[in-house]
């Protein structure tokens, strides 16, 4: 069984909010300033969608923001964990042409802990998972804002239990059992 895990949709939606505010900003500010004083800010009343130069600016500004937002979605999609019956693969896309892929065996997992912090996280069911591995180069693998961290922790622990159960059936005192 293989499962791919990404950040929760709410985390992605929240990260889009600055882009929406920046998109709305140039449509709001000129009207607001011209309403304050028609004498001092008469120029601002010209800054509306009927003015072709303002429309040019607005279109290009929105295009720039769209590129930023799409880039964010690309990062969201390419950053993920893949959990298989044998290992966990963590893929992190730091930027374009900057990719980090880490993989560790489930048998090396020492501890799996989850944190759900905040009202939205609790209601919508997202949080942080931390997988600690054993060995000489022990490492913590952390992913924040993932969907259903408890379910993922249970799944990892279940896979580890299955792994050890299968190992105990095929090995006796560390020696392969030829009877099975």
């Amino acid at each position: 069984m293989t499962r791919t895990v990404r950040k929760h949709w709410f985390v992605l939606t929240v990260s889009f909010i600055p882009f929406l505010l920046l998109a709305w900003f140039p449509t709001f500010v000129p009207g607001f300033l011209s309403d304050l004083s028609t004498d001092g800010f008469g120029l601002f009343s010209m800054l509306n969608a009927g003015n072709p130069w303002f429309r040019l600016f607005l279109g290009l500004w929105w295009l720039l923001l769209w590129i930023g937002a799409f880039n964010l979605f690309t990062q969201y999609y390419l950053n993920h964990w893949i959990i298989t019956t044998l290992r966990i693969v963590r893929i992190r896309q730091h930027g374009f042409f900057n990719r980090e892929v880490s993989s560790f065996l489930l048998s090396r997992v020492q501890d799996v802990s989850t944190t759900v912090d905040g009202i939205f996280a609790d209601l919508l069911g997202y949080g942080t998972i931390r997988v600690q591995t054993a060995g000489t180069a022990s490492q913590d693998f952390v992913m924040s804002g993932i969907d259903d961290p408890q379910g993922m922790r249970d799944m990892i622990m279940r896979e580890i239990a299955d792994l050890y159960r299968n190992q105990s059936m095929t090995h006796v005192n560390g020696v392969p059992n030829t009877d099975t």
Binding site: G50, N51, P52, W53, R55, L56, F57, L58, G59, L60, W62, L63, W66, I67, F70, N71, F73, T74, Y77, L78, I91, Q93, F96, F97, R99
Partner: protein
Amino acid sequence: MQPVAPLTPPPFLANVDPAKVVSILFVVLFIIWVLYTLVTAYHWVRYGHRSSIAIPALVTHVLVSAFLAIYAISGLTL
């Protein structure tokens, strides 16, 4: 109170054709957009793990970009 003098552009701007400026701006932005789109498409196709989302995402990116670019120039009569 002194009367306000009409705003006159500096001499080096007097001969600048706005149509040319907009055209150059658009070509530069278009080149940047094409480069970005190619790099993004490469990442989606190569690292998207044969995802069914990759192609619809790229098509959406191109369509929305085209719509915004058309909106930007829709008021201009060059």
